[in-house]
Every structure is written in structure tokens, then in C-alpha cells.
């Protein structure tokens, strides 16, 4: 039993089912991020938690109280919308206190709550302005203020940062994280930006096509993705997925991959159970940052494999240099230090941290669990 439980919940529009048996449980004070590509049903799920959309089947509970059919205003939730949804005819102050007014809070109390929140978000000087006279970042703050002032059990955010420019987005992201650490309120946050998901969350639900693909901590999602979709969706640049064959070398499983010229290289696995896959094809998942030069290889790793291959392209990106090569017939990206001596067209010996490598079943696309 969590603080917020989404129990076997489905959503259909007419005959079309857009959410399939979603099961998510969030504990008090946690930060859950729903992430996935456009149209996967994130907003729909959030709106169902808010009570803005009906629940077709299943149950949503907050603090063990079933919320099916409960009016949005009686769920003690607050929501920040993508467009901020500030009432254009009211001042910032009125926007913030409107919810309290509707709930019959006395005026003096409303004023006090408003000033407390305005102080917290540093928007005191804006209280008398109309939303039309605010910048994007200021509107964002006001929208958060309107949610905060209610002191809700659960905060719902629907892509709150997607209307901001890149720099402001990073700033506000930090601010939301701080806010969560200070207030400790339970948050459900929708985004399609996997970096936002990784940085903010304590739990991530990766969604695709109306299914929850994986639910876990950011680390679990990143290191042990449940399937190829999760593996390639989370992380930038995306995880390399390379066709390989499992062989045995000295009784231990290795991945046999084709280099640029068709010759074969062997990368020993850390997972012994893959021996059961001997002779079979798999898809090998390697994150770009686990392919480096010898000097930058992870010293804590017990399994660094070496691989000499031809460099196709190098892309310096300031702090890192992205190096691409052909492996198993696919383009593979390595993330190197910017001072690594790499030249396009030259052969180079890479160090691959096989401890972090994962293997997928090519038929089911699921990770082969050790």
C-alpha cells in the first residue's frame, strides 16, 4: 500500500483503449516521473489521478481512499499545467488564492498563505500584475504558487517546463527539485524529456503505447532496462544495440561481434548465466559512456574488454568527444574525453566496460535477466 496507488487502471475512449492495466504505487514524499514519447498516455493518466478524466476500470487511491468518481477539488491535489492555465482576468495574487477562496478559507488566512508562497517563490513584487504582463519563467512560478498554496497531498505536473527556453528550463528544474526536497510533498510529474526524468525523480515509470514498460529508480531504469525500448529511450546519446552471438571461451560466456571489416571480436560477459545462450543470437546493449580509451576506463570495473576498431567520425562536443564506429553492422557511438587522441579513419583500441553491458532477447526484445 503506497500513498498514491494506481491499481490495474485502464482508460478507453469508446472502443479504443489508450491505457492498459497500469499498476503504479508511490510512497509518501516520493517524486514519480511519468516519461514516454508523445501520445503514450502520460497526460491521460495524470488527468485520471486529478479526476479530470474518468477511470474506465481499475482503481486510483490516495492515502488508501478510493478516488474513482471523486470530484477533482475534493481529492486534495494540485496541478500545474503545461500552458500554466493562469486566469487571465485575475491578478497574480487572485490567481494564487482563487482555490482557497473557492474552498471557503477566510480572507485573512488567504492573504497570509499568499504572502508565504509568494515569498517562497520570490514573486512578491508580481502579486498585483495580470498574467499577461509576466515572462514565461514568472508565469511558471505563479502556476507553482497556485498549486503550493493549497498544501495538497499530491502535486501533479504536466510538462511544466516544456514552454521555457533551454536555460530557464534547467534553472526551473533545479528549483522544482529543491522545492521537493524542502517540502517533501508527493509529486507526480509528466515529461517526455528523459533528462528531466532522470534528474528529478526518485521513481520513474517509462511508458509507451499505453503500457508501463518499466517502473523503478532512475538507477535501475538506466542500468538494468527491462527491454530495448526503455534502454534506448533513456540516456543521451541512446544506448548502442549491437547484434552479437554468444560463445563460450574457457567456459565463460562472451559476445562475438563483427568489426568494421567483418572480422570477429570477443567481449566477455560478466553475467555467467548467459552461458545458457551459447550459440544463439542476442542484442548487446552498451552505453556510449562505457566505451572509452584505455586511460579513461572505469578503474572500479572488474571486467574491461578491449576492442580495436576503425573510427568513422569524431564529433567534439566541448566536454566530450563522440566517436562513431561500425560494430555488428550498426553505427555505435562512444563517449570519449575531449583530449582523447582520436582521428577519423584510424584504428583505435577501445576499452569497453562489460560490467555495464546488458543483453536482450532479439525475439521478445526483453532484457535477459541474470
Amino acid at each position: 500500500m503506497g500513498f498514491l496507488d494506481i491499481d490495474n487502471t485502464t482508460k478507453s475512449y469508446g472502443a479504443v483503449e489508450v491505457l492498459h492495466k497500469v499498476d503504479i504505487s508511490v510512497e509518501e514524499g516520493k517524486f514519480l516521473v511519468l516519461v514516454g514519447p508523445s501520445g503514450c498516455g502520460k497526460s491521460t493518466l495524470l488527468n485520471m489521478i486529478a479526476g479530470l478524466e474518468d477511470i474506465t476500470s481499475g482503481e486510483i487511491r490516495i492515502k488508501d481512499v478510493v478516488m474513482n468518481g471523486v470530484h477533482p477539488s475534493k481529492r486534495n491535489i494540485a496541478m500545474v499545467f503545461q500552458s500554466y492555465a493562469l486566469y487571465p482576468n485575475m491578478t497574480v495574487g487572485q490567481n494564487i488564492t482563487f482555490g482557497l477562496e473557492m474552498h471557503g478559507t477566510p480572507k485573512a488566512e488567504r492573504e497570509k498563505a499568499m504572502h508565504d508562497v509568494a515569498k517562497l517563490l520570490q514573486i512578491e513584487q508580481l502579486l498585483d500584475r495580470k498574467p499577461g504582463a509576466l515572462s514565461g519563467g514568472q508565469r511558471q512560478r505563479v502556476a507553482m504558487g497556485r498549486a503550493l498554496v493549497r498544501n495538497p497531498d499530491v502535486f501533479l505536473f504536466d510538462e511544466p517546463l516544456s514552454n521555457l527556453d533551454a536555460k530557464l528550463r534547467v534553472d526551473m528544474r533545479t528549483e522544482i527539485k529543491k522545492l521537493h526536497q524542502n517540502l517533501g510533498t508527493t509529486i507526480v510529474y509528466v515529461t517526455h524529456d528523459q533528462i528531466e526524468a532522470m534528474t528529478l525523480s526518485t521513481r520513474i515509470a517509462v511508458m509507451n503505447g499505453g503500457y508501463v514498460q518499466q517502473l523503478g529508480t532512475p538507477q535501475e531504469i538506466y542500468d538494468t532496462p527491462a527491454n530495448i525500448f526503455v534502454a534506448t529511450f533513456m540516456g543521451s546519446p541512446a544506448m548502442n544495440v549491437v547484434p552479437a552471438t554468444v560463445r563460450l571461451a574457457n567456459g565463460r560466456p562472451v559476445a562475438e561481434v563483427a568489426l568494421h571489416d567483418g572480422s570477429l571480436a570477443e567481449l566477455p560477459f560478466s553475467q555467467d548465466n548467459l552461458a545458457a545462450w551459447e550459440g544463439r543470437d542476442i542484442l548487446l546493449g552498451i552505453r556510449p559512456e562505457t566505451i572509452t580509451d584505455e586511460d579513461a576506463a572505469d578503474r572500479k570495473s572488474s571486467n574491461i574488454a578491449h576492442l580495436t576498431n576503425r573510427i568513422v567520425v569524431t564529433e567534439p562536443a566541448g566536454s566530450d568527444t563522440f566517436v562513431s564506429m561500425t560494430l555488428g553492422g550498426k553505427d555505435v557511438i562512444a563517449r570519449m574525453r575531449s583530449d582523447a587522441e582520436v582521428r577519423p579513419g584510424a584504428d583505435f583500441t577501445f576499452a569497453v566496460n562489460m560490467e555495464k553491458a546488458v543483453a536482450f532477447d532479439p525475439a521478445s526484445k526483453n532484457r535477459i535477466v541474470p
Binding site: S73, M79, F81, A85, N89, M102, R146
Partner: protein
């Protein structure tokens, strides 16, 4: 003027511009001519008109025709002037406009923000009301008014105009609210505002432009209506338009054209006033409804 306009994209020579203004002036004069005729003839004695001086300025200025049209002219049987009928019209138009506008706004709100099954079909049917010719509804309407016991009363006429006006007012408000962000309504729902609170506090304050459009449209239509007034109001209860007709058509005695002109201007005055006061918003409102974002 010409210095200020040097930098505009369209450069026109002085001669061309003079020509354009001349043209515009000519058209303006042409369109103002009827108003001129009415005004001039309403302030001269009858003898000057019958003497053939339709276009000339009055030799003797008099407001007698205005006073007569307003308070002593023979309308039907009584020499009451247009005054009581003017108030008839006002007391019929104001509630009819108010009610049909408010209902239209409510309809628009429900049709866009509280979608339900078959709502588009319902809206389509309401739109139909905009295209039904007046004549078709006369007899059914008379039957309904009789059934309700409102035949020949002012409230009956108000009802007729409200029913007829709802189609248009709903159309206006629905299109306006269709582009009003639904997230605002959702935010208000979460904030705990009720159905009417959301309407009153969130939507209505942003509806100024379209409300003006709707009010002007309804006011002009209802004020200028003759057919419903002539069909459903009787005798003393007749609206201004019907009274004006009676004034002009009265067959006894000489035709007092100057009084007729004054009466016609009196009848047109309220709509004229509404346009002058709210015309600016009218155009703005029409644009707001048609141009998205």
C-alpha cells in the same frame, strides 16, 4: 501628412492620393444623402416640403415636427405620438437582448467545455435557427403563445425574440469559447469552482468583445423587427416599428412628411447610438472570434 507617410510600403503620388480621397468623399456624400434628406426635412414646416424643396435647407427652422412625432401625432386612434411605443420597444428589447445573450453564453460554455454525447448535433440544430425565415414560425409561434397564455403581451414578444435570438447568440459564444483554453476550466475545477462559478469568474470576464458583438446584433435585430411586432403585439403594446408604420400609413388628413421624417429618425436613433458607442468593440469582437490565437 505626406511627410509621415514617406516610409510606408505603398508609395503613391500626390495626385493619386488626391484622387483617392476625392473618390472616398464622393461615396461618403452619396451614402450620407438619405440621412441628410431626413434630417433637413424633419426640421422644416410641411409647406416647404410640399412646395417641392426636398433637398433645400429649411428657410424656417422648427422642432415642431419632432415634438409632434414624439408626443402628439395620431397613431392608430389616440393622438399619443411615438413616445409610449418607444418605451414599449425599450422594455421589450432590453430583456430580450439580455436573456438571449446570457442564454447564448451559457450554451456556448456548455457546448465547448462540458461536452456530452450528440452535442455537435444539438449545436447543428441550434444553428438551424439562424436560417429559418421569420414567416415560417409565425403560425406555430402564435399557437405556442396562445397555449402559454402570452398572446398579445409584451412578455410573449420577449419570448419570441429570445427563442429566435438564441441561435445566433449561441453561435457567437460557442465559436468564441471554442478557442478559450480548456485547461483554464480544468484548473478552476481543481480549484473547486462550481459550474456557474467557472462561468461567472473565469469565462465571462474574458467575454467582453463577443458579448458586445452579440448585444449589438440582437439589439439591432430586435429593435428593427417589424413582422413579429405586427403579428404578436396588439394595439397599445405595439413596438416602435409598428407604431411608425401606423403613423406613416394613417390615412386620415394630410400626410405630414416632416413628422414622418422625425419619427423615422426617432425610431432609428437607439440602434445608431448603440453602433456609435460600441462599434469599435464590434469590429474587435468579430476579429477575436474569427482569428485564432
Amino acid at each position: 501628412m505626406s511627410v509621415a507617410m514617406q516610409d510606408t510600403a505603398i508609395r503613391t503620388g500626390r495626385a493619386v492620393r488626391v484622387l483617392i480621397y476625392l473618390f472616398l468623399l464622393l461615396f461618403a456624400l452619396f451614402y450620407l444623402l438619405p440621412l441628410y434628406v431626413m434630417l433637413v426635412n424633419s426640421v422644416k414646416p410641411l409647406s416647404e416640403i410640399t412646395g417641392g424643396g426636398m433637398m433645400a435647407l429649411p428657410e424656417v427652422w422648427t422642432i415642431e415636427p419632432w415634438l409632434k412625432a414624439w408626443s402628439t401625432a395620431q397613431i392608430g386612434v389616440e393622438p399619443t405620438g411615438l413616445k409610449p411605443y418607444f418605451w414599449n420597444s425599450i422594455s421589450m428589447v432590453v430583456p430580450a437582448v439580455a436573456i438571449s445573450t446570457i442564454l447564448g453564453a451559457l450554451n456556448g460554455y456548455v457546448l465547448t467545455k462540458w461536452r456530452f454525447r450528440y452535442d455537435t448535433i444539438l449545436f447543428g440544430l441550434m444553428l438551424f435557427a439562424c436560417f429559418i425565415p421569420f414567416q415560417i414560425v409565425l403560425i406555430p409561434m402564435a399557437a405556442v403563445l396562445g397555449f402559454l397564455g402570452l398572446a398579445g403581451t409584451a412578455s410573449g414578444l420577449v419570448l419570441v425574440h429570445v427563442v429566435y435570438g438564441i441561435g445566433f447568440s449561441t453561435l457567437y459564444f460557442r465559436n468564441y469559447y471554442a478557442v478559450f483554453p480548456t485547461e483554464l476550466v480544468r484548473a478552476a475545477q481543481i480549484d473547486g469552482a462550481s459550474f456557474f462559478k467557472i462561468f461567472w469568474r473565469i469565462l465571462l470576464p474574458s467575454s467582453g468583445p463577443i458579448a458586445v458583438v452579440c448585444i449589438i446584433w440582437q439589439f439591432t435585430n430586435i429593435w428593427n423587427d417589424f413582422l413579429f411586432g405586427a403579428s404578436f403585439a396588439s394595439g397599445d403594446g405595439a413596438p416602435m416599428t409598428v407604431a411608425l408604420n401606423n403613423l406613416v400609413q394613417s390615412s386620415t388628413g394630410v400626410k405630414e412628411y416632416n413628422v414622418h421624417f422625425a419619427g423615422a429618425i426617432l425610431a432609428a436613433l437607439p440602434t445608431l447610438l448603440v453602433y456609435i458607442v460600441a462599434g469599435r468593440y464590434f469590429v474587435r469582437g468579430l476579429m477575436a472570434g474569427s482569428v485564432k490565437g
